[in-house]
Amino acid sequence: MFDHGQPSYAEVNKDILSVMLETGPRYWMLLGTTMSVAVIFFFMPWFYQLIVGVGAAGMNRNAYWGTYLSNFIFWIGLSHSGTLLSAILHITNSPWRKSVYRSAEAMTLFSLMTAALFVMVHLGRVWFVHWSFPIPNQMGLWPNFRSPLMFDVMAITTYLTASSIFIYMGSVPDFAAVRDASTGLRRRLYTIFCFGWRGTAREWHTLGWAYTFFAVFVIPLAVSVHSIVSWDFALSIVPGLHHTIFAPYFVCGAIYSGTAGIVTVMYCLRKYLNFERYIGQVHLDNLGKLLIALSLIWSYINILELFSTWYGGSSFELEALKFKLTGFYAPLYWEMILFCAFVPLLMFFRKFRWSWNKMLVISILINIGMLTERFIIVATSQPRKFLPNAFGFYFPSWIEISITIGSFAIFATLFLIFIKWVPAISIYEVKETLKPLRRDA
């Protein structure tokens, strides 16, 4: 598990906390860059769009949904594996989980936030977004509980809440460690954050029980969230979207892209935060195997979708399929197939699975594939629905492309802030995996 020899408890504390406590100019430069990219590419175009109207984006009367929605799904998808994997691996008691789960869960949280931002960007009148929450009011107006979008609101807020609690709960002992290692204001803050954690047996017991409970609770939630997101599409009768397979397809795709995302994040943590000792070959190997499995399931569902469409024989569906496979956006479709179905097969070879650089490339390719998958779903189906005379075309505008780029910067910014506030690797759980105590610390 530890590529460079097993550290002592003190070393664990020092390695992990130093990331938080010692901040060099490189960090500030990086944070400054990501923040300015986020402002310039995301918030400024959004502000412009708020003033002139959603018409600033490339959507039109044939394509009412565009990149904003496809990005929303992408980010929701990316959010999937963090908490889900962490919870599953916690229940199955897999020790290799312990050094990766914290940042994976953070990834969940931040991609959910980014996804929520895309909902805001997508809305025509975002200033009334609160109407979609079931807030009691004098007018007696409720949201429409039949709407898949309403399910979305519920599912995402629940998932966001649960994920936040889950990550927070797991961090409480670590916050105590931060408190102990720091002074002044930070110490006072972390005293609050850790609820005065003292490390008594009863505290450990309660934490362990609650954590397991939450892990069990979060798993079905995570599955339901992306099912519900898929229903935004599948509950419509639009050819190309109206598939029963969509819920498992989306869940699988989400875990797939999320796992690939974890690989990317792991690479960065290891490389730039010097966590080589904690994130090692075993993680990479296991994640690689998981990716292969997910890729196969994903490919299978994809084939299933094509097959059932063809077998169903509905002329509307066939036309939509034809456009997807051979129309204007066909190159993107085949790119997605290449990146998500074929490239991951390389990981059958240990040479690829064991190489950090190769895995980084593969994981990024997978996520590019998944990003285009969502785009294709949105861009090929709804501009060509039932009435040929109303067929149209969708191409994203510069505003949309810019906001897409900016969203990655927002994610990066949030992550950069995160590593300064929360230990990026679970200190106490890593310690659990150390071999029986060496008494030199």
């Binding site: 002329s315 509307f316 036309e319 060509r384 009435l387 040929p388 005379n389 067929f391």
Partner: protein
């Protein structure tokens, strides 16, 4: 809680204070905007806020003369609908008519009298007072009159009917000038001339489409642009589904499918310019196959000898079988009707074509019959519609006179010859020789831009007047036009301007034309008419109020005078070969140019109305801009795709327009809509598309003196540039989807 220190207390007070200020600011921010309640100083009698009132008047967007009802709320016009009691529109109205609101509230209206301060053609105009402008014109004309040179004053108007026409005529007559002409591009002069030849009656008869069983239309887009589209549409609807168990059939003969062609059961794309020949071919079969059994059968047989099906088939490119089939149907239908219009009556042999079509009606025996041609023997009132139409010959005479320096003052009202005439006429150049050009217009169109003085007129929704639809509806009808809103700007109704001029000129004119306003004049004329007709069952004022409320006066069911059924002799005598001669040789110019009236912009007069600019063309769905249509096969031969910018060249000139592939167009024809290509005429019209009139060679049909605007050959060249054609259509094939109805249906 332990005791609170002073410092803490201050902090709490501070927090509370900030909160309170925030609360006030928040409440202030959700305040409503201050709105004012502006009462009226003195309310008008029929004013009730929040409730709409309807006023009836007459549409002036084309020459059909539909009655309209305008919805008024709080003194503003909100919507135009057809006048339900008006026999022409019967409560219905076309897109152009409904866009009349855009005329009234057009941002580009002329709001005050303008002068160009001696710099003609620069487009710079300066405001001038009504007094000054009227004095200038009045003294100029007055001097000419005193010098006995009144014939040096010319008046050119658009289509003007009713008593405004009489006012103009009186005015010019009293001046001593007989040069009052009307020019309206859409006026069917050739048809009228042909009818005069065939039937001996100088009018447009009523075509009773409503009761016809077979309607054979030669180029006449009767549902879109021809004569009275709304009335024809009503008739069409009735003919199709209004009679139980009897569905009328329509056949359309034209090289490019028009709105009526799309509605027709059969679309026959005869070679351009040979539609009249086809009519004669059908006539030949009608006579030879014994469908016609009149006493003059032998004469018919003789004159139609040359037009045997085989000969006609070779000329028209329509199979012999098809011609025979058409003839059989035409001959056996209970009520068959043939009409001619559009490009068929815009060739060099336009009258001959129309006469050929008239021959068909003769042979079908539908004259004076239901479902046939009905003559309006009683023209309501003294108005004589259309007699002032100059035709092309009249315009050429005017141009000649201007060139020769015989015109000192040219008054132009509501007519835009610079736009709607080919450059070959030289109208624009001739204007340079005229010392004073006065435009009476609501908009700065191309011709108005050349004027020295612009007298802004009220739109038809702000004016008094009356109208007699031409052709009528089979019984006497006259409509009243009344202002439905108060005048928006410092403009005057055109009748009032003329009457003011009368007073300015002085002499015996004010004695002979004593009215102060158009309203007075119209009312007096109606009173005279009322008394003449001896309708004494109520006093005139009551009648007048009733007429104003109804917007129309008529005597339905009264067919005054016997229906004249002319003999066929004059038609027989007039039949000549109706093949059109095209300008340009076939080798240099392989294609035939087919300009057609735009369904929304008509001859271009609708181009300044945003609703019409945004109205998808019925057959191509194109908005904003013009295009050249090519048959898919022709386009493929020439290697042209949709959106390629073409240079369309004719002997008369060339324009650049994007190409549009149009499936219902005869190969070898390039079709272009008329209407765009304005160089002035407001923000919505200006510099948009191309004007096909720039391509039309100056050719005249001798017998009517009308412009043969569909007799030019053309060639196209792909410039290699691309231009997006803005259209709303996606895919125009059903892809096997049963959108237009289930496939295997018994109906």
């Amino acid at each position: 809680m332990s005791k609170i220190s002073r410092r803490d207390l201050l902090q709490y007070i501070g927090a509370g204070g900030i909160g309170a200020v925030g609360g006030v600011l928040y409440s202030e921010s959700i305040e409503r905007d201050v709105e004012l309640l502006i009462p009226q100083v003195v309310p008008p009698e029929d004013y009730s806020p929040g409730i709409a009132t309807w006023y009836n008047t007459v549409c002036n967007q084309c020459s059909a003369g539909c009655g309209i009802s305008v919805r008024i709320r709080e003194g503003k016009a909100k919507k135009i609908e057809g006048n339900p009691v008006h026999p022409v529109s019967q409560g219905r109205l076309c897109a152009r008519g409904q866009s009349g609101l855009n005329v009234l509230y057009n941002p580009d209206r002329i709001r005050e009298p303008l002068t160009n301060a001696g710099q003609r053609g620069t487009g710079n105009f300066y405001p001038i007072s009504w007094d000054e402008v009227l004095t200038t014109i009045g003294s100029r004309i007055g001097r000419l009159k005193i010098e006995n040179n009144a014939s040096r004053v010319r008046l050119l108007t658009g289509r003007v009917r009713g008593h405004l026409d009489e006012l103009f005529a009186q005015f010019m007559g009293l001046l001593g000038s007989d040069h009052y002409q009307q020019y309206d591009f859409t006026y069917p002069s050739a048809l009228k001339a042909a009818n005069k030849i065939s039937f001996g009656i100088d009018q447009l008869p009523y075509y009773d489409i409503k009761n016809a069983d077979l309607l054979l239309s030669f180029g006449a887009d009767y549902l879109g642009t021809w004569i009275s589209p709304v009335h024809h549409s009503l008739a069409y609807g009735h003919m199709r589904q209004g009679r139980a168990g009897r569905r009328g059939k329509t056949v359309q003969v034209e090289p490019r499918m028009s709105l009526s062609g799309a509605a027709a059961d059969e679309w026959v794309a005869a070679r351009p310019g040979t539609e009249g020949l086809l009519a004669l071919g059908i006539a030949h079969i009608l006579v030879s196959d014994g469908h016609y059994n009149g006493s003059d059968r032998d004469q018919w047989s003789d004159v139609l000898q040359a037009y045997s099906p085989s000969a006609v088939s070779a000329e028209t490119d329509i199979s012999e079988g098809n011609i025979r089939q058409l003839a059989r149907e035409f001959g056996t239908s209970k009520a068959a009707l043939a009409i001619a219009g559009g490009a068929t009556t815009a060739g060099t042999n336009a009258v001959a074509s129309a006469v050929a079509v008239n021959a068909l009606n003769h042979l079908a025996g539908n004259l004076g019959q239901p479902g046939g041609i009905i003559f309006n023997s009683d023209q309501a009132f003294s108005a004589t519609p259309g007699t002032r139409q100059a035709g092309m010959q009249g315009i050429l005479d005017l141009v000649e006179a201007m060139e020769a320096g015989e015109v000192d003052v040219l008054l132009v009202h509501d007519s835009n010859p610079i736009f709607s005439l080919p450059d070959g006429v030289g109208f624009r150049q001739a204007l340079d020789k005229v010392p004073l050009i006065v435009a009476l217009s609501s908009f700065r169109d191309e011709t108005t831009e050349q004027a020295d003085l612009i007298l802004p007129t009220n739109t038809y929704l702000e004016s008094w007047g009356d109208d007699v639809p031409d052709p009528g509806v089979g019984f006497p009808v006259a409509s009243i036009s009344q202002p439905v809103v108060t005048t928006l700007y410092d403009t005057l109704p055109v009748g009032d301007i003329m009457l003011s001029l009368v007073r300015q000129i002085g002499g015996e004119l004010p004695m002979a034309m004593p009215w102060r306003t158009m309203e007075e004049f119209v009312k007096e004329r109606w009173r005279e008419e009322y008394e003449k007709r001896g309708s004494a069952d109520q006093d005139f004022e009551a009648f007048w109020q009733a007429a104003l409320e109804a917007g129309v006066w008529g005597q339905p069911g009264v067919m005054t005078g016997d229906q004249i059924v002319p003999s066929g002799a004059s038609t027989i005598a007039a039949i000549t070969n109706p093949a059109s001669q095209f300008a340009g040789s076939e080798t240099d110019y392989p294609l035939v140019l087919h300009p057609y009236l735009s369904a929304s912009l008509l001859d271009g007069r609708g181009a300044n109305l945003p609703w019409l600019q945004e109205l998808p063309d019925p057959l191509t769905s194109v908005v904003y801009g013009s295009w050249a249509e090519l048959n898919p096969a022709t386009a493929e031969d020439l290697g042209i795709r949709e959106g390629d910018v073409l240079e369309v060249e004719t002997p008369a000139g060339s324009v650049s327009v994007p190409a549009l592939i149009f499936p219902a167009l005869r190969p070898g024809v390039v079709a272009m809509p008329i209407g765009q290509g304005h160089t002035a005429y407001g923000r919505y019209a200006r510099n948009r598309g191309a004007n096909p009139m720039d391509l039309v060679s100056m050719q005249i049909d001798d017998r009517s003196g009308d412009l043969a605007w569909a007799a030019t050959r053309a060639r196209v060249r792909n410039t290699g540039e691309r231009l997006q054609i803005i259209k709303t259509d996606g895919v125009t094939r059903t892809l096997g989807r049963q959108i237009l109805g289930p496939k295997n249906d018994h109906a």
